[in-house]
Symmetry: C2
Subunit: 202 residues, 2 copies
C-alpha cells in the first residue's frame, strides 16, 4: 500500500482551510489515504526564511485578501472573514490538532473541520480556550482530557516537532502537500497534484 498524501497546514491560513475541503476527496480518487499535520508559518517558518508573514507584505498582502474571497466565491466555500489577516493565534489550535492526531486519530479530521469552520465561517477566536473546547466537543472529544494533556506539555512538544519537521522538509507555506516525497505548494497546485497522481509523475 502506498504511503498517505501529506497535507501540512496552519490553522490561520485561509488557503489551508480551502485545501482541507478538497484533499481527502482528491486522494481517495486514487485509493490514497491522507496524513494531516498542523504547523506554524508566521511565527516559525517565516523566521527561517527571514521574511514577515506574506499577508503583511506590501502588494502581495492585498492580493491575497482578494484572492481568498475570490476562491471562496468560485468554489462555493463558506468563508465569512473579510480578510485573511490573522485575528487569532494559531498556537492553541495547532497544539490541539497535533495532540488529537496522535491521541484520537479517528476524530482528528472532525476537530480540524470544526476549528476551520469556527475561525473562517463563524469568525470565532481559535486562540481562545473556550472556542477550542467547543471545537473538541463538535468532534466528540473531551475538553477535560485535552486540558489535562495541555498542562502536561505534550501538545506543545508535538507542535514544536511538527514545525521542526516542516522546516527540515522544506515546507514554506500553507497548504503544502507531499505525494511520495514530491512537494506541492498552494491550493492552486491541487490540479497539478491530481495530474501527478493520475499519471504516476513525470
Amino acid at each position: 500500500m502506498k504511503p498517505p498524501i501529506e497535507f501540512w497546514f496552519d490553522f490561520i491560513s485561509p488557503f489551508g482551510y480551502f485545501a482541507s475541503l478538497r484533499i481527502d476527496g482528491l486522494a481517495a480518487a486514487y485509493g490514497r489515504q491522507t496524513d494531516w499535520t498542523s504547523m506554524l508559518l508566521g511565527v516559525s517558518v517565516n523566521k527561517v526564511m527571514g521574511i514577515p508573514p506574506v499577508i503583511d507584505l506590501p502588494l502581495k498582502g492585498e492580493y491575497l485578501v482578494r484572492d481568498a474571497q475570490r476562491y471562496a466565491r468560485q468554489h462555493g466555500v463558506p468563508y465569512r472573514r473579510s480578510s485573511p489577516h490573522p485575528t487569532s493565534s494559531p498556537l492553541l489550535a495547532g497544539r490541539c490538532f497535533a495532540w488529537a492526531r496522535t491521541s484520537h486519530p479517528r476524530e482528528a479530521r472532525a476537530l480540524a473541520a470544526a476549528l476551520f469552520r469556527r475561525y473562517f465561517v463563524d469568525i470565532e477566536d481559535i486562540g481562545a480556550e473556550a472556542v477550542v473546547s467547543a471545537a473538541l466537543q463538535d468532534a466528540g472529544l473531551d475538553p477535560l482530557e485535552w486540558q489535562d494533556a495541555l498542562r502536561g506539555g505534550a501538545p506543545a512538544k508535538l507542535l514544536r516537532g511538527n514545525v521542526e519537521r516542516a522546516i527540515a522538509r522544506g515546507v514554506f507555506g500553507s497548504p503544502f502537500f507531499f505525494a511520495d516525497g514530491e512537494p506541492f505548494f498552494g491550493v492552486e497546485k491541487l490540479p497539478v497534484l491530481d495530474a501527478w497522481l493520475q499519471s504516476g509523475g513525470w
Copy 2:
C-alpha cells in the same frame, strides 16, 4: 470590443517564460487580445516589498528550482536551465522589449519569444548586447535602430515607467495578469483566469 488581457513578466522569470507560451492561446479562445509588458521584479518590485528575490529565499528558493523543472516536464516545454536562478540581468532585455512594444508592436511578441528561448533554452546571456541584437534579428528587427534608441535613453525610460505602473497596480511577481482589472498571479492561475473568462467572473 473588450480590453486586452494584460500579461506582465520579467525576462529572467522561468514562470513568466512558461506563461508566455500559453497566454495568447488562452485569450484567443475568448476572442480577446493580449498586452505584454516587461518589468523588473528582483531589482525593483522586491524593494517595495522589502524582501529578497524569491529565488534567494530559504526553503522557497529550492522548491522553485524543482517546480520549474517539473512544470517544463509536465507541459513538454523546452527548458534547459538547471536552475531558475538568474544568471543574466533582465535590464537590457526588459528595455528592448519595452521599446519594441511601442515602436514595433507587430514584431514585439517574436522578440520576446526569441529572448525567452535564448535565455531558457539556449542558455545565453540576455544581459549581453550581442545576444539582444541576435534576438532582434530573429524577430526581423534592426539592431542598429535599437542601438540608436538605446543611446537616446527612451528604452530605459519606458522600462522605468513599466516598473512604476507595475507597482502602482499591485504587481508583485511574474507572471502577472489582469482581465478587466481582475489580478491573477502565477502560471498555475491560468486555469483560474480561463474559468473567469469563460464564466464572466464570479
